[in-house]
Amino acid sequence: MISTQPRALRPASSPVVRALQHGDIPYRGVIALSALAILGLVVGVGVMLWIYSEPTRVAAGWSFVVETAWNPVGEVFGAAPFILGTLNTSLVALIVAFPLGLGVAIFLAELCPIRLRALLGFMVELLAAIPSVVYGAWGIFVFIPAFVQPLGDFLMNTFGNPSRFPFLPILKGPFFGASTLAAGLILAVMILPTISAISRDVLLAVPRAQREAALALGSTRWETIWQVVLPYGLSGILGGIILGLGRALGETMAVTMVIGNVAQVSASLLSPGYSMASVIANEWGESRTPMYASALIEIGLLLFVTSLLLNIVARLLVWSVSRRNPDAGGGRA
């Protein structure tokens, strides 16, 4: 029987008790904890790496960064070959990936019919979904023999011979496939989706009114893009490049499998090299002594700090473009 009498309202109680009854306090506590966990992780990674790299940090100080000899047996640990190797491969990757990535972004944002835009964009992003180790295997067995080897041979024979002109020391042999060039090219493929996706979003955020103003003055489409749209979105595009650079710095497996893993400082792109992430991955198993392990961890600390800084700069840049205008527009409607 349903009671027809009105139910009594709950007796009054203090707000705290009510909140507890409703479960709000535990709820708010739990989500705050989870949020803190994220912050704690970021800080924690830095702290732990700092602590566990202490032996080499204290022993060598800043000279760790500039020492070019890496001799674990003789307990000489210099990070310079790896820092330079990482920089070289990342630079090669950026030089190749930036124009290509920007071109893709311009095509997708300004020229491509809308229906194709999502599909093509998705396919380019799939490049980022392929795991690093698969890129590495493809690099060893397919890309190097079929592309990098012939390319490198050609470059070495044309520009790498000191007795002929023009001579570019950067392309001096000997060349055996596994090299800074190979790693740089594969990295370029891996960071291209990052650069193109961010640049595309930046370009789409440029207000339609800017494009219309340029076109109404009689600009061609390319002139509109090159002289008005790109400059408008420049800081955001720069942010995308920096994020791509950040990715390139930390890539491990693909680079390890194709760079040759020789700890030397060489001027030539065609000689084997070594990157920060690769040396950690490769030599971890052999690091018997505390100093050896600490050296590798210190390299990891350097990677952490660099990626943190790059991330901050990049996010600020990307954020600054989208903040500048309320309305966003595209090229072709």
Binding site: Y27, S34, F107, V124, L127, A129, I130, M257, A281, W284
Partner: protein, 292 residues
């Protein structure tokens, strides 16, 4: 018009042609760039399928490790290992990620809310090998290589993806739902769980799929945590095999048998990763069509 300036325009026919040419050329180059960008994708997929399918077989998928002298065996141990590592990582990352997203959506403009958003971005940009080192210092030094450690490392990598997709989905759910629930006197946590989360559910699921796709192929962090193994094991406190680790080992192995097996593993991983990515995208499209 007969001003000198006007005559300038009509007299510059050659320059007009040049502008038109440059326009067509540069626009064509961007199309070319797009084609060029897709070449590696097609190439890698083609090679993986071609080389991987020859070593792929039911036996390969269901047997565990055997030395090459005995035929090479299969990767069942690695499949189980990856499933355990990724499954455990998901169990860790999803609740924490969702809860953190709730926090961010509830306090969008507070200092802490912004800090968490920023922290998520930083985490997503960290090299995965650094994450592996971190877990090593925290866990492995004391207790040795284990599946726990591997899962933790993968969970950290999954967190930013889960947080970001959950956050975006929650932001898209109409405020009117939330207000209706609160207006009826429901407490905050109930509103979130019974009303907003189901509305954001497909988003959370796609986020999970993308996060799983991301970590299924991760090798570097596992080098210092789960270490990899040749044995079939479900012990969480011992080293555990995984597909990408095995791929790496077999790819750099001098034996041709192992190399062929590496391609087969690559095929398995690629199929998994692509299926998850495409699936997530399809679900998102289906969902946005339902919303209209």
């Amino acid at each position: 018009m007969s001003t000198p300036a006007a005559r300038r325009w009509t007299g510059a026919a050659a320059r007009e042609r040049k502008r038109r040419l440059v326009n067509i050329l540069m626009l064509g180059l961007t199309g070319l760039a797009t084609l060029l960008a897709l070449v590696p994708l097609a190439w890698i997929l083609a090679e993986v399928v071609a080389r991987g399918s020859s070593a792929l077989s039911v036996e390969f998928l269901t047997q565990t490790f055997k030395p090459t002298s005995l035929g090479g065996g299969g990767i069942w141990h690695a499949i189980v290992g990856t499933a355990i590592l990724v499954g455990l990582a998901s169990l860790l990352a999803v609740p924490v990620g969702i809860l953190a997203a709730f926090y961010v959506v509830a306090h969008p403009n507070s200092a802490m809310g912004l800090a968490v958003r920023f922290g998520t971005d930083v985490l997503s940009g960290l090299p995965s090998i650094v994450v592996g080192l971190f877990i090593y210092t925290v866990l492995v030094i004391e207790r040795g290589y284990s599946a726990w450690a591997g899962s933790l490392a993968l969970a950290i990598l999954m967190l930013p993806v889960v947080v970001r997709t959950t956050e975006e989905m929650l932001k898209l759910t109409p405020q009117s739902l939330r207000e209706a629930s609160l207006g009826l006197g429901a407490p905050e946590w109930k509103t979130t769980f019974s009303v907003m989360l189901p509305a954001a559910l497909t988003g959370v699921v796609t986020g999970l799929m993308l996060a799983v796709a991301r970590v299924s192929g991760e090798t570097a962090p596992l080098l210092f945590t789960a270490l990899g193994s040749n044995n079939l094991s479900v012990a969480l406190d011992k080293p555990m095999a995984s597909l990408p680790l095995t791929l790496f080992k077999y790819a750099v192995d001098p034996s041709k048998t192992r190399n062929a097996q590496a391609w087969a593993i690559a095929l398995v991983i690629i199929v998994l990763v692509l299926a998850l990515n495409v699936g997530a995208r399809l679900i998102a499209m289906w969902r946005s069509r339902m919303m209209r």
